[in-house]
Symmetry: C2
Subunit: 651 residues, 2 copies
């Protein structure tokens, strides 16, 4: 029993989440670099092996790990297919490796004795005795040769690589220690890199009096695709409740004909598995999905688990909802506020488990069958975590290509946990990070701390609920600044329509909502104007597609710019051949200038070196001589995007 206590220590596996409870997130094609700390007593030689397999595979693939400094070991494996993988680290006492190491030292110091040779032979003998087949035969042959050899000849045989190879095969791995399996999720690339455009289909009309349709949306696909987006996201498209319907600007006094909020889901015409009749039919929707695909766009739908008071489920499944002692329904509330057009389901209601949970999963599967592979989930933090873990697990086991985006704005604990339990992408605090130090702190947290392995930040510049004060007050320069930041800092960015027109009129002076919000009315727009920033957005999306450096947040490095209103960062391409460098003035009102450092050292260049620069918006080239440079930025041209490459390499 004492003999069975583990002699070696194996700990601090990386990447790993909660000791293997949750999968580490990667995408297909990634190489997973695994590290672990492995050590034992004394000066013994250890060995470590990385083992991995894809879900459903029985056998492990194996590769030796390499020893780094301070008992750290490293190995790597590739994610060749989409879906779940797992890996394990195994360590053991490498007797023959230790013999080789010490024997070589003794030979070098000329102190090796006969008994040292004999020790090596003894290890070979033991290995031959315990192995079988070819290995045993080969080891016995080596042993015969060793028994005849002496001195230098014996030493050469003992240290030969082919003997080492055989001994590795025959190794009984004494004192083996093996980690728990660590899951890794290989998602499709769009989980890490995509560019979203959000619109309300009903607003795709030239006339406020005529409800836009899926057919109208098809007419807008060239525009959306032309700006370079790849994901087109709609707020809920289901029948809208009539009871307690909200009027324009969230008023409680709607007029006949007001369309209501699409987030008040469900009416006599159906619930989450139905389409709002004024948008079209399932056939129309299928046609739209098909047309979008032809434009290189995929459709993302909203998944908002809440019901209008006339949602069919309230009658069909009263046990899925909470009722008050007087028999009235429990509206959504955050006391003293009350949302009377919305009723929340009760996930632990008398009939809710598993009925409601399965019904919700089936709603998602229904839309998956209609070609929707991406869901933006409304307020997931107000629904139980085990529901998400179970539901996303069920859907992705069948359809590993499905992506869920978490729209949670709450405390970091919950936002991070939702990502761990299964959401591929997450809304963030980016919308409220305008200061240089705030942006640097936040990005650094996301790229260097635990979240880097599970939390993919989706940087929306605005949403139907968030009309940031910075945009309201900063006009067109502010919109260009935020577009530059979102499009270059993260692999995931999103624009809610109207942003490209610099439309940021708030509901009131201290309000973060839009005036005449599309949530409560149909809003036709003119899609180009002298004030728009469509060309900027188009160019950013083009750069993002062309430069892998811009397809992740994880490679962002901040550099020194001596002005608190100018942020300066760079992103190396995966192969290190180029860097996309971005400089943004955070001041939409006044010119700003600064001295800054060109990170010549990233290319192995000295401080006085010359490096060629390509201006990615201006389209011209120039050179920087030396590490210290100066720049002036103007609200009219608040950012620069440059491409750096080592002189002579694709410059």
């Amino acid at each position: 029993m004492l003999r069975d206590l583990p002699r070696l220590v194996l700990e601090d596996l990386s990447p790993a989440l909660n000791g293997g409870q949750f999968p580490v997130k990667r995408v297909v094609g990634d190489e997973v670099a695994v590290e672990a700390t492995l050590f034992g007593d004394g000066h013994e030689q250890l060995a470590a092996e990385l083992q991995w397999r894809a879900a459903g595979e029985r056998n492990w693939q194996r590769a030796p790990m390499e020893e780094l400094a301070n008992d750290r070991w490293r190995g790597a494996f590739s994610l060749d297919t989409m879906g779940r993988y797992e890996y394990v680290v195994e360590g053991w006492l490498d007797r023959f490796g230790g013999f080789r190491r010490d024997f070589r030292k003794k030979l070098d110091a000329d102190v090796a004795q006969d008994v040292d040779h004999a020790e090596g032979r003894q290890l070979v003998e033991e290995a031959a005795a315990r192995s079988k087949g070819k290995t045993a035969t080969a080891l016995k042959k080596q042993l015969a040769a060793l028994e005849k050899a002496e001195g230098e000849k014996s030493a050469k045989l003992l240290l030969a690589d082919d003997l080492a190879e055989l001994m590795h095969e025959a190794d009984d791995r004494p004192h083996t220690i093996r980690s728990e399996p660590q899951p890794v999720d290989a998602e499709r690339v769009a989980a890490r890199f995509s560019s979203w455009y959000e619109l309300f289909p009903r607003s795709m009309t030239g006339d406020k009096g005529r409800h836009g349709t899926f057919a109208d949306v098809i007419d807008h696909l060239p525009r959306v695709c032309g700006m370079g987006f790849d994901t087109l996201y709609f707020p809920p498209i289901h029948p809208i409740g009539k009871t307690n319907r909200k009027g324009p600007n969230n008023t409680l006094t709607p007029e006949e004909g007001d369309p209501g909020s699409p987030y008040a889901i469900g009416s006599a015409e159906g619930g989450h598995d139905a389409i709002h009749p004024e948008l079209g039919t399932f056939e129309d929707f299928d046609r739209l999905v098909q047309a979008a695909a032809e434009h290189g766009l995929e459709i993302a739908l909203d998944f908002a688990i809440q019901a209008a008071p006339d949602h069919p489920w309230l009658k069909e499944h009263p046990g899925w909802f909470a009722w008050r002692p007087d028999g009235s329904m429990k509206y959504a509330e955050n006391p003293p506020k009350k949302y009377q057009d919305i009723v929340n389901v009760d996930f632990y209601g008398p009939d809710a488990v598993p009925g409601l949970w399965e019904a919700l999963r089936d709603v998602v599967l229904l839309w998956v069958d209609h070609g929707v592979k991406t869901f933006r989930v409304d307020n997931p933090h107000t629904k139980p975590l085990p529901f998400w873990e179970w539901m996303i697990g069920e859907v992705r086991a069948k359809h590993p290509e499905v992506i869920f985006l978490s729209e949670a704005f709450t405390r970091p604990t919950m936002m991070y946990r939702l990502a761990k339990v299964g959401f591929s992408q997450s809304y963030t605090y980016f919308t409220w990070r305008n200061e240089k130090h705030e942006l640097i702190d936040y990005i650094t947290e996301l790229t260097t701390e635990a979240p880097k392995d599970f939390y993919r930040p989706h940087f929306f510049v605005n949403t139907p609920d968030i009309n940031p004060v910075f945009l309201q007050k900063g006009g067109r320069p502010a919109h260009r600044i935020r577009a530059a930041l979102a499009a270059t800092l993260s692999g995931l960015w999103g624009v809610y329509s109207g942003f490209e027109l610099c439309d940021a009129t708030p509901l009131g002076p201290d309000k973060e909502e839009y005036l005449d919000s599309e949530k409560y009315e149909i809003r036709p727009r003119e899609w180009r104007s002298a004030n728009d920033i469509v060309d900027d957005i188009t160019r950013f999306n083009e750069l993002r597609r062309e430069h892998p450096a811009l397809q992740t947040h994880l490679n962002t490095q901040f550099y020194l710019a001596h002005n608190d209103s100018i942020i300066w960062y760079g992103k190396p391409s995966p192969d290190g051949s180029e860097m996309i460098m971005v400089m943004v003035s955070l001041d939409p009102h006044y010119p700003q200038e600064c001295d800054f450092e060109v990170p010549l050292w990233e290319f192995g260049l000295g401080d006085d070196a010359t490096i060629p620069v390509e201006d990615m918006f201006g389209g011209y080239r120039f050179e920087w001589h030396g590490k210290y440079q100066h720049i002036a930025l103007d609200p009219d041209e608040p950012f620069r995007v440059w491409r750096l490459a080592k002189p002579g390499e694709n410059a």
Copy 2:
């Protein structure tokens, strides 16, 4: 089954080591501040409780935890007795607490309706139905009152504290989540605070030709106690091997009469359970332990698991050792180096488990029975970790007062792991940290990172094996500098005899060993000289005893001193009433001066305030006016120790 998935998340317990695998280290009398992250979906009110018990207790003590920011909760419990404790955190959905919170908000906003009152009554009714005895009776009484009440009267009853108290008692704690138990070790205070003096008993003689004895050591107790030490530590006191005995200065050619190294343990006269005959008998040893106790000193012994070639175990238990293919014994080696006076046991030898393990444990227990409660363990990192975990566990289960000090100088992974598996105290890298930034980095790692909960650094200024170059080259000022640092930075410090005499002659120009090392010969000394620093050491130990601020490393704070050769730190007393401030020049050769900041803010004082200062070595008092001060330090007076207290408070 879906219903059973945990709804709430409980994570990041603190203090906790490896998820509860190892105990957190504290001492008797400490309060353990426990924090945990607890959260769930939505806006529900949660509650958390801290539960704890001492080893052998069946029932948990309980205290509510308080909610901090960002889902963090906090509670505390006291360690009243020595030994093992465990604690648990439990969280649940606090339905009635949530009702009270929301109901109060609605009352304040004047939107409370009858149905809100009814909801409260329903919760009380449910609680009354599920509870028993007194609680049920009291709740039914409350319910009767509520059913008669209306409006303000009903509200008052629903929000009354006595109802809340009853509802807490009757709470069925829905969605309970409970942490794993986390062990905490309450050791005696000496585990955290003690001052060690090391001597070779055989050198306690005036004549190199006469072997010192335990009786001679008794004569030295007043001197050691006079310097203020509380622990007197001896290298091994067992019979010394004769085979391959080392001569003076580690030579291989001893002469007749050379005493050999006490680390070559065992001869025909006995092994680890015997006493070297020239030192005395067990009766002499017992007398010494008794006499030491009368001087306020405890005896610490070396536990060095290694054998001289003539250790009795080699014949009695050949299966406890490793033998080479030619039948010769395997000497300790670190190729190409070889230690021919020492044989290591083989912990996994054919008869070693459990025979050797138990024999080693019994050796420790034998010495415990002779009054030894502290063991300095030689090179524990070359023996298996599971042995230490098992052996220390066995000894401390019977004798929780026993302290083990780990003498491991190796990679941080191993040094920290040894502390986790059971060592109460640890040797450190302090001996080689001489630069300001090195000291600050190292202390900061020990006080703010994971080690703070399990690794107690023992700062030895020198050891028989380590004669630091800084002392060799820096003379008396260097000795004073290192004494000041060790005695004030850590609750544990140690001096190997000779240090107080500034004896630092090395074996050779680039050697870190002492010339004429006591490890290989008897060395009588003159115990006072004009050059000694006995008075400094005495004063430091006096200050350490009088000021709890100096009894731990954990409270060390570094402050700004504008000179890379001057280190400046402060240590608040546990009650915050005073700070012991220490300023040390790290330069034993040249005068150094600097501007520095007095941390007036630690006393809530403004930058221009006046604070009284007591010089703890000079014995005089003065005042600092304002935060910015200047000082000059000289190699002759390389440090200052000041006491600061808020004006009017014990100043």
